[in-house]
């Protein structure tokens, strides 16, 4: 029956669209979270460096 083809096509397109969109969001989310983790790691490193530097200063100033 030809009409079955139309019905099938309509529902298939709906689900393909949903999966594509959800997939697109998923991939972007994963990449973004990786970038975020990188930056937060770098931020921690820099902050540690500043703290260490300040620690040294305080010690040398008080001696």
């Amino acid at each position: 029956m030809n009409n079955l083809g139309y019905l099938f096509a309509a529902y298939t397109i709906i689900f393909i669209a949903i999966f594509l969109y959800a997939g697109f969001i998923w991939r972007r989310q994963a990449r973004l979270e990786e970038d975020l983790r990188n930056i937060e790691r770098k931020l921690k490193d820099v902050r540690d460096e500043i703290a260490a530097h300040n620690g040294r200063d305080v010690r040398s100033a008080s001696s």
Binding site: N3, Y6, I18, L32, E33, I50, H53
Partner: protein, 236 residues
């Protein structure tokens, strides 16, 4: 809005979708006039409902953005617009696929489909504005204004297109929205489908919104890193 909420929403969507599919393909009887193709209706109509509701959300979020100035409202508007666009496109595609076997033409200028086409153009304009204005600091304001006036225009569009079609009926007799649902099983199926698509929209909206919020956090963190690195550089 945590990952757990999103997961719950996803599960709810899945459950409702399965129920809806069952009802559409097993439970509901075949319609007398149009045959089995009529079943497209049960997903076509909820898509339309979502497309219009999403657009209202875009406008409301826009109003809150202009009023309160908080980025979170702009992110909500953008998420709603993108998600709504997906569903609006689906309305047009499924409507076209439905029209072909019933009316013999891919496109009938009936009032509902025509209004949805205009809505689709409005969505497109809105998203294009966002894409083009992305490098300006004012993109959120511009988008909010456009979203508001477009949504305000929609009722006028609906009325004018409906009047247009009544006075000048199409060569093909337009179906009266297919809401002549005699069988209560059809009504039930439609309602479940509506619920399923509303949940689906909610879930996709949450995901897209979370993505935008994450991007915002990333930008803030990057800025902090820049400041911290500069401070560290000064100390060396």
């Amino acid at each position: 809005m945590s990952a757990k909420t999103a997961r719950l929403m996803g599960l709810l969507t899945l459950a409702l979708m399965i129920a809806a599919l069952f009802m559409v393909f097993v439970y509901v009887p075949t319609e007398a006039d149009q045959g089995i193709v009529q079943r497209i209706f049960y997903f076509h109509v909820p898509c339309a409902w979502v497309a219009f509701a999403a657009f209202a959300l875009v406008a409301i979020a826009g109003i809150f953005y202009l009023w309160l100035g908080q980025q979170i409202w702009d992110d909500l508007a953008y998420a709603a617009a993108e998600t709504g666009m997906v569903f609006c496109t689906l309305v047009l595609i499924t409507g076209s696929i439905w029209a072909k076997p019933i009316w013999g033409a891919w496109w009938t200028w009936d009032s509902r489909l025509t209004t949805t086409l205009i809505l689709w153009l409005l969505y497109g304009g809105y998203l294009l504005l966002r894409a083009m204005a992305d490098d300006t600091s004012q993109v959120a304001r511009f988008a909010a204004v456009v979203g508001i006036i477009a949504a305000a225009d929609v009722p006028v569009i609906v009325v004018s297109v409906r009047l247009w079609r009544t006075i000048h009926p199409a060569v093909l007799v337009t179906r009266q929205g297919g809401h002549g649902l005699e069988d209560p099983r059809m009504v039930a199926t439609l309602l479940v489908s509506m619920a399923a698509f509303t949940a689906l929209f909610g879930w996709l909206l949450m995901l897209r919104f979370a993505l935008l919020r994450a991007r915002w956090r990333l930008e803030c963190a990057a800025r902090e890193l820049g400041l911290a690195a500069a401070a560290a550089g000064d100390l060396r």
